[in-house]
């Protein structure tokens, strides 16, 4: 299961706020890397691999995670095809690499991450470059999404 993610695979990102949706648009901030409570900075956009048998179990687990605010809850999801993500092209003179890699955890076997490297450096939460901002915008544009 840890093997390479096929181009044809569907990736699903759970969303925990209706504020990521506005009419027919999905916010690029639905894909933003965040700085966690322990000050650790995310370096990959968390997604689940929909085509694996454990997907439903993992999604169910995500839906039951206790949100920070009691009134928050699972608000919907965004799905992307791995090939589309890998084929994102950004018109920058900087060298950029985009990939999706498996990163299973004890509780979520289908967990994986979308990563972005600019000039060989893995982008982490807090980056404000145009390349990173448009990367998030393109993820949002590519995503099929559904509001709960």
């Amino acid at each position: 299961m840890d093997g390479e993610i096929k181009d044809s695979e569907t990736l699903v990102r759970s969303l925990y706020s209706p504020s990521f949706f506005d009419d027919d648009r999905l916010s690029p901030y639905a894909f933003t890397l965040i700085i966690l409570n322990n000050s650790k900075r995310e370096d990959g956009v968390s997604v689940l691999r929909k085509d694996l048998p454990e997907f439903e179990h993992d999604l169910k687990y995500l839906k039951t995670l206790k949100p920070r605010n009691p009134e928050d809850s699972y608000a919907g999801y965004a799905s992307l095809v791995a090939k589309d993500v890998r084929n994102i092209h950004i018109k920058s003179p900087k060298h950029m690499e985009i990939d999706v890699i498996p990163k299973p955890s004890k509780k979520m076997k289908t967990h994986s991450e979308i990563i972005l490297k600019i000039e060989g450096e893995k982008i982490i939460a807090g980056n404000t470059s145009r390349e990173y901002r448009i990367f998030c915008a393109k993820l949002a544009y590519l995503a099929q999404w559904e509001k709960k």
Partner: protein, 180 residues
């Protein structure tokens, strides 16, 4: 009253929505007969609403394809909604939207054609600022509005943009129009 342009129209819709909101608040607080402070009174509010609605209806009849009220109400309600987000609204650690930033965008409503504003989706970022996302399908562009500055990027032939532009409504309008 007559509307010479879209902006005058949008200002009136904003007045109407503001009055409606104030009436709702008064009603909730059972304050119908005691509202004698500096604000407009309850009865005066209804008279003012009636006058504005007449003008809006008249304008809408003259401009049937424009649908100003719908667009304006949608943008206004979106800003109102965003103003109520609590800390952690994303389910994690996002900050509430900064009031100053909201006011900056609300001020835009009376100074820019509502159709030009409607080319942009409005989202909160995770740090209490606002982000405008171009709705176009032919190019990507975004504007981040901060407390005292704004930044933008656009990808057409190349990826370009500008950061840390001192905030002014005129500059923001200029960028929004040139990018969209």
């Amino acid at each position: 009253m007559s509307f010479k342009d879209d902006i005058a129209m949008t200002n009136s819709v904003r007045d109407l929505l503001t009055i409606t909101e104030s009436i709702k608040i008064d009603n909730t607080e059972s304050n119908k007969n005691n509202n004698t402070d500096n604000n407009i009174s309850y009865d005066q509010s209804f008279i003012k609403m009636y006058e504005i609605m007449n003008d809006i209806n008249h304008y809408s009849i003259q401009n049937p394809s424009e649908n100003f009220q719908t667009i304006y109400s949608k943008v206004y309600r979106r800003l109102n909604y965003l103003s109520k987000l609590d800390e952690g609204w994303d389910g994690f650690y996002a900050k509430p939207v900064n009031r100053e930033v909201l006011i900056r965008l609300e001020n835009l409503l009376g100074k820019m054609d509502i159709h030009d504003i409607n080319k942009w989706a409005i989202f909160p970022d995770l740090d209490g600022n606002l982000y405008l996302d171009l709705k176009s399908t032919s190019k990507y562009a975004g504007i981040n509005i901060y407390n005292s500055t704004f930044s933008y990027f656009v990808e057409d032939e190349t990826l370009h943009g500008q950061d840390d532009i001192p905030f002014s409504i005129d500059e923001l309008i200029k960028v929004m129009k040139s990018v969209a």
